[in-house]
Each structure stands twice: as C-alpha cells, then as structure tokens.
C-alpha cells in the first residue's frame, strides 16, 4: 500500500539482469498474496513493461515474468482479461517454446490460471496456439512439467465441447492415457481430471476417450492410496458412463462396477460422491444394467453410504442412486427393499421435509422421487410394513396402493397383514371419500371378511 509497486517499476528496466529478475520475483510474490495488490500491479501498467523485452531475456527472467502473470491471473476473471489484453499470451507462447523445463512449467501454470475462469479466456488461450505446445510439454520427461501441462489441458477443456474438441484434435488423449500408468500420484490426479473434463461434454468425446484403451487400467487408479486419485478416477468413469447405455455396458463388462463399489467402500467423505453418482447413472440406463449393479453387491455399499454420511448432498445422491436401481421392475425394488433401506430413506425424507433451505429442496426432491419410484414397484410386503406406521400422507398413498395391489391375490400375505396389525393401522387412516387413497383402502377392506374389518 505504501507505493511499493510504483517503486519496483523502474527496477524492472534496470541494466543489471539480476535486479530485473529479483524485482519481477518481488512483484510476483506481492500479487500472489492478495488480489488488491494484483489489481494495483495491473493498474500501474507494469505488465507491458514486463513483457516488452521478454524474448531476449534469459530463462530466470522468463520464469519470474511467468510467475508474475500467474499470480495476477489467478484471482479473478477481470484480472485475467487484463492480462490477455496486454498481449501476455504471445509472450507465454514464446516461453512455452523455450528449452528450459522450468520456464515451460511456469508458463503453462500461468496459462492454466488464466484459462480456468471462463470459456472466453480459454478460447483466447487456445487461439494463441497453446494446445499443441502443451501437448508437447506433456511428453517431456520432467514430472512437474507433465503435471502442470495436464492441469492446463484440464482447465481448458472443462468449459465447452468445442474447446475439448480442440484439445482432442491436438492428439492429447493418447498421451494422457499413457500417463495413467505413471506412479506419481499428483500427476495421476491431473491426468484423470483432464480426461474426465474432456469426456463429460458429449458422446463422441467420451467414445474417443474410451478408444484410447483406458479400461481396465483406470480401475487400478481406483485402488491408489491417494484419495484424490480415487476421486478423479471415479469422476472419469462417471462422465463416461452417463452418456449412453452402450458405454455403461462397456464399463460393466470390464468390471468397472465392482472396482467403483470397492472404492466407495474404502473412502470416506465427499470423495465417494462421484462413485455413488456413477452407480446411479449406470443403473438408470436399463434394467439389465441395474441388475448388474445389484449382482455386483452395490446395494449394501450404497446403504452404508446413506447411513454413514452426514452431508445432505451425499445422502441425497445415495438416495437417488438407490431410486434409479429400484425403479425398473419388482425384482429390482425387492432387492432394494430387502436391504432394509426404505425406513432410512423415509426418515431422511421426513427430516429434510420440514426445512426451507434452497439446497435442501433439491435433496428433498431427489429423496422423494427415489422413494416414490421404488415404492411403485415394490411388492415385497414385509419391507413395506414398517413404512405404514410413520409415513406422511403422500407417501402413505403409494404404500397403501401397493398393498391394495398385492393383498387380493395372496392369502398368506393377508394373514400376515392382519396379525402384524397392519389392518388396524389402515383403518385408522382418514382419507377423503372419492380420493385415490379411499379407493385403495376400500380394496384392502374388501379382501377381508366383515367381522375382521370391524
């Protein structure tokens, strides 16, 4: 605040190169700390001076200049746009073509921070011709450079399908797929995140990613000791599985479902979320895939998630995944109901039902829909019994409806129904005459002889 920036400015144009470098380093560290300082750096017109003679300077100066650009660009989109406007991207390209890996790393880090904010900035980065240079950087032997280049490609391709297509056209997928086998954990994180950002946009891109033969190698990433590698691996599989049933089928056939279920079982916290969503997407496509998920022991894993997690969005995701599994046929609903999960779902629904929070509304909606879809197909009466006692009226309607469908045909079930006190409970329910609930109650009452009903 004491005009340090304006004091440092003339030092940038000093004759001695070491002073220039140290001044640039100082500016970079200032801008890195706080975004007000970064704005000041931009306002004092330092960036053009920094960049004017970049091509003749040595590598330490280039590194320091790239560091300054990175520090300024990371705070907000406006600062990043300011960087782009003063022609920094061409200078960064020159840095990317340099031989020293440190310079390349600093330049690609700066590009990743610029491209991360929004798609216009990414487009500007791509238009400056960064993508082929980044793909070359990925092939370099230094691991840090590979890491940063992978993270830059991931930031670029995350905004829109056209940008992802540009990255794919430069041949990035093959190199990224090779690097999955690398033992370094942070590199794997970035590579998996880059592949998942590419695959998430459209079916063709996901198919291109799959054609690079990542299955079943990606499954080993799900067993890695690093949590974020597991999370990104699960994200990649989720982005591929959500597009079409054929891709989900491919994943199921290569044993991906088992690996993801094990991965869910071994992690805790929000790292599990992509895995849970992946199971939901796979089960949503068709009933054969849902049956495959059930056969791979997916339901116990999801139930433990539902019970153990404390955050609402995780519970809502687990509830949604269970709903997708159970909604296809009575067999599926039975498999879900037998795992004793319906009371938990009901409790979750009743809990969140009362609150008015906007975020809760999404989880309420998901839980309710999951519960409804499972109930509409569930014919396993012992699992429906506990729901009779505490359900709110709109859920009760479905429960009673299911009872009224099954009881007329099954005499053993009728006997059980009476002995467990279900009939008594049904009589206690008041419904408006002429409503659907009343019809169901009448159907149930007509299954039993008169004296029992009274």
């Amino acid at each position: 605040n004491s005009g340090v920036v304006s004091l440092l400015r003339p030092l940038l144009l000093d004759v001695i190169p070491t002073i220039q470098q140290t001044a640039a380093l100082a500016l970079g560290r200032l801008a890195n700390y706080n975004d007000d300082l970064a704005e000041e750096v931009v306002k004092e017109n330092i960036l053009p001076q920094l960049l004017c003679s970049l091509s003749e300077q040595n590598r330490f100066y280039k590194k320091a200049a790239a560091f300054v650009l990175r520090a300024v660009g990371k705070h907000s989109p406006e600062l990043a746009e300011a960087i782009v406007e003063c022609g920094a991207l061409e200078m960064l390209m020159i840095c990317l073509e340099d031989f020293d890996p440190g310079v390349k790393e600093a330049a690609s880090w700066a590009l990743s921070y610029v491209a991360r904010h929004n798609s216009e900035l990414s487009q500007a980065v791509v238009d400056a011709g960064a993508v082929p240079l980044l793909v070359l950087c990925i092939q370099e032997p230094e691991i840090a450079l590979k890491r940063i280049a992978a993270s830059t490609l991931s930031e670029i391709s995350k905004h829109s399908p056209e940008l992802a297509q540009t990255v794919v056209d430069a041949g990035a997928i093959a190199h990224l797929a090779q690097m999955i086998l690398n033992p370094d954990a942070k590199l794997k994180r970035q590579v998996l995140s880059a592949l998942s950002q590419i695959a998430k946009h459209s079916v063709e891109l996901a198919e291109l990613v799959v054609e690079a033969e990542i299955f079943p190698v990606v499954l080993t990433c799900l067993k890695d000791s690093d949590e974020y590698v597991k999370k990104n691996g699960a994200t990649l599989i989720r982005e591929i599985a959500k597009h079409t049933p054929e891709l989900s089928q491919l994943i199921v056939n290569s044993g991906g479902v088992a690996a993801v279920i094990d991965c869910i079982g071994s992690c805790r916290g929000s790292v599990r979320l992509p895995g849970i969503m992946m199971l939901g997407y796979v089960a949503a496509h068709s009933e054969n895939l849902a049956m495959a998920v059930i056969v791979s022991k997916g339901i116990p894993a999801l139930c433990t998630c539902l019970r153990e997690e404390h955050e609402d969005h995780m519970k809502a995701a687990a509830a949604w995944a269970l709903g997708q599994i159970g909604r296809h046929t009575p067999e599926h609903a039975r498999a879900v109901a037998v795992a004793n999960v319906l009371p938990t779902l009901l409790a979750l629904y009743v809990d969140t039902h009362g609150s008015e929070d906007l975020q809760m509304k999404a989880s309420i909606f998901l839980t309710k829909r999951a519960l409804k879809s499972i109930l509409q197909k569930c014919t396993h009466l012992p699992a429906l019994e506990p729901l009779l006692h505490d359900a709110p009226p709109n859920i009760m309607k479905h429960v009673i409806g299911q009872f009224s469908k099954v009881l007329p045909h099954d005499s053993k079930a009728r006997r059980l129904f009476v002995t467990t006190g279900g009939l008594k409970k049904v009589q206690e329910i008041e419904a408006e005459p002429g409503s659907l609930l009343q019809e169901y109650i009448n159907t149930i009452n007509s299954c039993f002889p008169e004296e029992i009903v009274r």
């Binding site: 560091f67 790393e105 230094e142 691991i143 067993k223 044993g255 088992a258 054969n288 049956m291 791979s296």
Partner: protein, 363 residues
C-alpha cells in the same frame, strides 16, 4: 168399299192394336233388353274374371319363380359368407397358433432371454471377482513396494548415520556407547559401525550446488525430481571400416534403369503366340461362315414348333370331351348369345378338399 169400311173399322183397332203390340213389344223389349244386357254383362264378367284369374295365376307363377330365385341367390350368399367366415375363423386360429409360438419363441430368445441374462449376470459376478482379486493384488503389491521403499530408506539412513558416526566404534581399551560390557552381545548399531567405511570429506561439498540450481520455481519448497530421460548411447562405438566407393558413383549405379536383354524382354511363349495369331488370320481369310459350329441341339434351340398336318385344320383333335362337353350350335340361338349360367360357380366350394391343411379337418 166394304173392305175399305172393314179396314177403316179395323183401322182404329189397328191403331190400338198397333199401339198395343208396339207397347207390349216395347215393354217386352225393355224386359228382354234388360235381360239380354244382364246375361251379356254376366257373361262378360265371367270372361273377365276368368281372364283375371288366369292373369293372377300367371303373375303368381312369375312372382313365385322370381322370389324363389331371389331367395336362392340370397341363401347362396348366406352360405358363401358362412363358409367364408368358417374358413377365416379356422385360418385365424391356425394363424394365432403360429403367431403364438413364434412370438413366444422370439421374445424368449431375442428380447428377454432369461438364460442369456442369467449367464451374463453370472459372468459379470465372476469377472467382478477376478477384477476385485486383481485389484487387491495390485493394492497389496503397491503397499509392499511402499513398505520396502520405507525400509530401504531407513536402512540407508542408518548406514549413513553409521558412516558419519564411525568414530563411536569401540576400541580395545574403551568400549563404545553401543558396546556396553553389561550387554550380552553388542548392539546392532555397533555391528553396523564395524562394517561401515568412514565418509570422505569431498562428498559433503558437492551436495549443495545441486540443490539451488534445480529449483524450478520461485515458490517451490520441495526437492527437485530428477529427470528420467533415457541414457545416451556409449561413445566408443566402432566405426565401420573402409575403403568405400565414391557415394555418387554408388548412387548412380543404384538408380540406373533396368535394360533387359531381348530374350528377357519378350515373354516365354511370345513366339508361339505370334505364330498362333498368324494362323488365326490365315484361317479367317478362308472362312465361309463366321459362326462357330455348334452341336445339333443348340442350333435348334429357339425354333418355334410347327405342328404336323394332322393336328392343324379341320381334321385336328376335337376339343369336345377335353375342353367342353356341351354341344354348341350358334345358328340356332335365339338371341346372339349363348346361355348364361344364372349364378356363377362358387370359388370357395371348388377348393373343397383340395387345400393342404389337415389339422382342423374342416377342409
């Protein structure tokens, strides 16, 4: 005169008689006229009645025949439709049988093949088991590697420490720290110290310049990773021995076009082929007729058959008995047309007993 007087007397009687006779005749005439009229009218009535009776009889006859014809036609239609419906029901039932078995087969085989689904799910669980075991092995392998790396690191550190502190080795006179006389056997550190070579001074100096040069960025605080580039090939490789020809000459020789001899250039049987060509043209000159000679049957392939004299003309085979049975004499026809059958034959009835199906036995 007497006659005249007599006549004049008779004249008044005559007049009266005349009038009387005429009157009686008149009266009689009326009666007779009426009687005649009555008789005639009765007779005419009888005649007309007889005629009307005849007419009604004829009309009844015509109507009877007409109505019979209409109802026969109607009945024929009824029978046709009933037969048609019966046949269609039969066909429908048979078609239902076929469709039923086909649809059952198709659904069970292609749309929802229970056994294939079951096999598929079993295959998936098997595959899952395999994948899980492989992943478990992989995880264990990774853990072992990490443990091994840790152990090795610890060993290296220990060895380094031992090398640094080699002066703590015990001597004959003074027992070192790790070799206390109260111990049954020396401490493992003591054994390490005995086995380790002391560090030389030069190694410690060369450590530091490496650290600052390989620091990649101004803010990185971790140690730099070493590059894993492939090693360069060894320098002392043997050079190939000379003397060599001038490379331009070699190139010229290599790129010279091929100049084959005449014998190689011509094909093996070129002489024979040329001779054959010559012969062919010679013979062509002497041909009268260019078409190839064909066997007898092929020459007469497309000829139209000309029947013999016995089959053509008036003395040919009679169509009567094979094509029609009724004799036809058009000169005797009243109108210009032959008799028409009033109702055409029923096509369905003609097929009776001639279709293939045996199942329903109705056919």
């Amino acid at each position: 005169m007497a006659a005249l007087a007599r006549l004049q007397e008779r004249l008044s009687w005559l007049r009266e008689e005349y009038y009387r006779r005429h009157r009686s005749a008149d009266e009689d005439r009326k009666i007779k006229y009426k009687a005649a009229v009555k008789i005639q009218s009765w007779f005419r009535g009888c005649r007309v009645r007889a005629y009307l009776r005849y007419l009604t009889k004829m009309v009844i006859l015509i109507q009877k025949w007409w109505r019979g014809y209409r109802s026969r036609r109607y009945f024929r239609k009824l029978v046709e439709t009933a037969y048609f419906i019966m046949k269609m029901n039969f066909y429908n039932e048979m078609a239902v049988r076929i469709q039923k078995s086909w649809r059952g087969y198709y659904v069970r085989k292609y749309i929802h093949n229970y056994y294939a689904l079951r096999e598929y799910l079993e295959g998936i669980s098997l595959n899952n088991k395999i994948v899980r075991s492989e992943l478990q092995e992989y995880a264990e392998m990774k853990e072992n590697e990490e443990k091994r790396k840790d152990l090795e690191k610890k060993e290296r550190e220990k060895k380094y420490q031992a090398r640094k502190m080699h002066y703590l080795l015990s001597t004959e006179q003074i027992a070192g720290i790790y070799n206390s006389p109260f111990r049954k056997s020396p401490h493992p550190m003591e054994l390490l110290l005995r086995n380790s070579k002391p560090l030389s001074h030069r190694r410690q100096q060369t450590k530091s310049p490496f650290a600052c040069e390989l620091c990649h960025s101004p803010t990185c605080t971790r140690l730099p990773t070493f590059s894993t580039a492939q090693p360069l090939p060894p320098i002392g490789r043997q050079k190939p021995q000379g003397p060599f020809r001038d490379p331009a000459e070699v190139l010229r020789q290599r790129s010279k076009p091929v100049e084959p001899t005449f014998r190689v250039a011509a094909s093996i049987d070129s002489l024979i082929e040329m001779a054959r060509e010559e012969m062919k043209w010679e013979e062509w000159k002497s041909h009268i007729h260019d078409k190839k000679f064909l066997p007898f049957s092929l020459y007469h392939k497309n000829e139209k058959y000309e029947p013999s004299v016995l089959r053509a003309g008036k003395y040919s085979r009679e169509a009567y008995g094979t094509k029609h049975f009724r004799e036809v004499q058009p000169e005797k026809w009243v109108a210009d047309k032959d008799f028409q059958t009033v109702l055409p034959s029923i096509v369905l009835f003609q097929k009776f007993g001639k279709t293939y199906s045996r199942n329903g036995q109705i056919v």
